[in-house]
């Protein structure tokens, strides 16, 4: 059998499709890392589900302090800082793009799609700014 | 007006023959296809086993052998010049289909795969030969899809869901057709230089049939009403293996792969009727054998069916008894898995409709009305001829099952229907386009649509207490009982009288639907009027033929009579209760009639 192939195609739809899957897997990595370390750092004795979720997904200062354990100094290092930024970027992109997919399912081609994408881009950037601001002000980094 | 159209070539019907014709005609002429169904719904799609071509991908094979097998299969009624033409053309036609992308099954070397079929033999050894080129058991489906795809590629114009109801003849030439648009009931007049009829068969005359609801012989009936005769209508093929009661076809390919017919005693009975090729004898022979078995009480449980046994162990057992071998000389064997690969659809049908798994259980089968050998008479150029002197009606062509170029004679050989529609469909397209180049449009009269409108209005406004459905059922029953596999003079006369009574009753039908949008009830009624006309012609043609030949088995005259009856029937419908019969000679070139033994 002779191998047949064509050049790879990079369409917007394909890239977003791939991104959704990769960011999904990335969230697994962040969440499992966060969860593991959170458990090591004391969550196993503080098994409050809400707290655990907060620690798992977004270990910023306020989240950590709301769990009654004063281990704040352990969280203050560049590792957690990078984790926080990456998590927020991937999560918001994954979420915003998910929202875009859901809405665009009901839309035709044309200017409406571009307007929507523009609005969602703005919303995403706003969310990023807010989140970064939260990390800066309350993250105790 | 938007309901007037003009094309150089019009193709009526979008099955294999119609699409093939359209493909070729559209290369050089402005062409449109008018079809009452979406093209991919056409009945060509249900053909299963294969399309024959002597390309010899496994063993030696020659077009001459194909020709002789076809002539012999036809019980010497086929016109031998047309048969020879078809068999010589078929290898090229098959290659052309392959070049159009048709996904044939393949040999290990990558060539088109072939399988044995009933009546296909090596003329020197008398042994079955692999001649049927196949794509699993959906060869017809692949042909139909491939041709439709190519029509899309070549931007052929389609009028889908337009029912043609009349042929326009001006100055003795075909000048166009009248059609009703199903979605709106509007009448459309199509003017054309050449018209190709590829409207398919009329198996819906019979109760147990493999034919689609759509197979109502519209083209033949339209032609009859315009004074064109129908040829050899008494010859209608009953396929030996239809699913019990439903009539759905089980391909001859099952027997080609080694399946055998079994009676109530567990005997393989075909070796008594066809000692050489046994289960692979031609279809009329096998159907008759089944009937005799059932009549003599050897149907399964005394009922009117037999078993088609394709379990691997049965196949292997009888293959060993027959000494069947693979191309490389090793003994032929098959496993359930291989069977599933070669016959997936058949296995699916049996599971769906019978709850029977053919790999582990035998399939209940009975003869089922399958194919019209007769139809609109044409010559070798697919031009329609209108009398026994072969006078051509200029501009009118016919191809496929609705036509009778007479390559099938008294009995069609398996796979030859696909060969017929591909070869003659192609030439109909080429010839019609060529004719259109040198012809002018005939002026249409102002009242061109009147005859069609009258027919439909008569049905629409008919008042009475008869139901179309009921008349249809009675017609189908009487035809199946008396003009079926075996016929007697008394039975045929009875059937003819009954059909005439039904035609009378048809004048008192009452429809429920008076609407214009998709009034399928109106169209079914019109289709029934076609079926009734064809049933009458069939019964009358059969009653007149005092011999047995091919599919026409007349118990009062059980022998073939070449002295008096080696001739084609031409039947005209002349007014009420009047079928006029005339005859024309059979073209015999190389093969003198002799006794037919399988």
């Amino acid at each position: 059998m002779r191998a047949r192939s064509i050049p790879k195609i990079f369409s917007f739809e394909y890239i977003m499709w791939l991104f959704m899957r990769i960011s999904g897997l990335a969230m697994y990595v962040f969440a499992l890392t966060g969860l593991t370390i959170a458990l090591i750092m004391g969550a196993r004795t503080q098994m409050d589900m809400g707290t655990l979720l907060r620690w798992t997904f977004f270990p910023i200062g306020t989240h950590v302090t709301s769990s009654d354990i004063l281990v704040l100094e352990q969280w203050i290092n560049p590792f957690w800082s990078i984790m926080q930024y990456l998590t927020i970027i991937f999560a918001t992109m994954h979420g915003t793009n998910g929202l875009r997919m859901v809405i665009e399912d009901y839309m035709d081609a044309g200017w409406g799609v571009h307007v929507l994408r523009g609005l969602l881009l703005i919303a995403w950037l706003f969310m990023l700014l807010v989140a970064f601001n939260l990390i800066q002000t309350t993250g105790a980094v | 007006m938007s309901n007037q159209h003009q094309y150089e070539v019009l193709v009526v019907g979008a099955g294999g023959a119609g699409l093939m014709a359209a493909l070729y005609a559209s290369r050089s002429a402005n062409t449109a296809v008018i079809s009452k169904l979406y093209p991919t719904r056409s009945h060509t799609g249900t053909a299963q086993g294969g399309i024959s071509a002597a390309i010899g991908n496994y063993e030696e094979d020659r077009p001459e052998w194909h020709t002789y097998d076809t002539v012999k299969g036809s019980d010497y009624l086929a016109d031998q010049d047309t048969v020879e033409f078809m068999c010589n053309e078929s290898p090229e036609a098959v290659y052309e289909l392959e070049h159009m992308g048709l996904p044939f099954s393949r040999t290990p070397e990558g060539k088109i795969a072939q399988r044995p079929f009933g009546g296909h033999t090596n003329n020197e050894t008398g042994k079955p030969v692999r001649r049927a080129c196949y794509a699993a058991d959906r060869t017809g489906h692949m042909i139909l899809q491939t041709l439709y795809q190519q029509c899309i590629k070549n931007k052929v114009t389609f009028y889908d869901e337009f029912q043609v109801v009349d042929l326009l003849v001006v100055n003795g030439k075909a000048a166009g057709v009248v059609a009703i648009e199903l979605a709106t009931s509007e009448i459309h007049v199509f003017q054309a230089k050449a018209v190709i009829f590829a409207t398919g068969g009329h198996g819906r005359i019979w109760e147990i049939t493999s034919n689609a609801y759509a197979n109502t012989g519209d083209g033949i009936a339209i032609a009859l009403r315009r004074g064109i005769p129908a040829e050899d209508m008494e010859f209608f093929q009953f396929h030996p293996t239809g699913i019990y009661r439903l009539g759905i076809l089980i391909t001859e390919g099952v027997r080609g792969e080694g399946g055998v017919l079994i009676n109530d005693k567990g005997e393989r009975f075909m070796d008594r009727y066809a000692p050489h090729v046994k289960d692979l004898a031609s279809r009329d022979v096998v159907s008759r054998a089944e009937y005799i078995e059932m009549r003599d009480g050897r149907g399964i449980g005394g009922k009117r069916y037999l078993y088609l046994d394709a379990r691997p162990e049965t196949i292997n057992k009888y293959a060993a008894i027959d000494g069947r071998t693979n191309p490389d000389g090793t003994p032929y064997t098959i496993t359930g898995e291989e069977l599933l690969k070669k016959l997936p659809d058949i296995i699916d049908f049996c599971r769906t409709y019978l709850g029977v798994d053919p790999v582990t259980q035998p399939m209940p089968v009975q003869p089922t009305a399958h194919y019209a050998m007769g139809g609109i008479p044409t010559n070798i150029r697919t031009e329609v001829v209108i009398d026994e002197n072969n006078t051509v009606m200029p501009g009118l062509y016919a191809a496929g099952e609705c036509a009778c170029v007479s390559v099938h004679g008294g009995n069609r050989l398996g796979t030859n229907s696909l060969v017929d529609l591909v070869v003659f469909g192609k030439h109909a397209g080429i010839n019609a386009a060529e004719y259109a180049r040198g012809a002018d449009f005939e002026p249409l009269p102002a009242d061109a649509a009147d005859f069609a409108r009258q027919q439909l209005d008569a049905i629409r406004h008919s008042k009475g207490d008869e139901k179309v459905y009921q008349i249809g059922i009675e017609m189908k029953q009487v035809m199946f009982d008396h003009v079926g596999v075996f016929r007697t003079e008394e039975g045929m006369a009875q059937a003819l009288a009954k059909i005439r009574e039904l035609k009378e009753r048809f004048k008192h039908i009452q429809l429920d639907d008076s609407g214009t949008i998709f009034n399928t009830e109106l169209l079914s009624a019109w289709e029934l009027s076609n079926l009734l006309d064809l049933a009458e012609i069939t019964a009358a043609s059969a009653l007149a033929r005092k011999e047995s030949r091919g599919a026409h088995a007349n118990e009062d005259y059980p022998k073939r009579d070449d002295v008096n009856w080696l001739k084609h029937t031409l039947a005209w419908l002349r007014g009420k209760d009047n079928v006029e019969l005339r005859y024309k000679p059979v073209v015999i070139t190389k093969y003198q009639p002799k006794e037919r033994v399988y």
Partner: protein, 128 residues
């Protein structure tokens, strides 16, 4: 006049598509739910931190309730596990023949984890 082609939401829901169709619906609902939850949460926290608004506190009262935690927890868990199924099947299309089995496998992972978590949340809520 033919009817319009629109398929209403309810008509779509009534279609008997089976497990995979419901998984898709739940995936969308849980995804949108998470987005809404996180969005509001971040916004409220931002307002509280920057302007000292009460919104953050008000929202946190809802978020801390055990019923809400169960919903959020289910949404995240389902979205994650179902997302993993979709990713695996998308990256290895040959496995798509086992779509139905994949749905069963998915639920057999979700149910015990979610059951355990719910048990913990509820006992904690009742006990504390």
């Amino acid at each position: 006049m033919p009817l319009k082609r629109n398929v209403s939401f309810w008509e779509g829901l009534k279609y008997k598509g089976g497990g995979p169709m419901w998984a898709w619906i739940l995936h969308r609902l849980s995804g949108l739910g998470i987005l809404l939850f996180v969005g509001l949460h971040v916004l409220a926290a931002f307002l509280t931190a920057q302007f000292g608004s009460d919104a953050g506190i008000a929202i946190n009262v809802v978020y801390e309730s055990w019923a809400f935690q169960i919903i959020v927890y289910f949404s995240i868990l389902f979205h994650a596990i179902n997302g993993l199924r979709v990713i695996v099947l998308d990256f290895w299309p040959a496995l798509l023949e086992y779509e139905r089995e994949a749905i069963w496998a998915e639920w057999s992972v979700i149910v015990p984890i979610f059951g355990l978590a719910t048990y913990i949340i509820i006992t904690k809520a009742l006990g504390g």
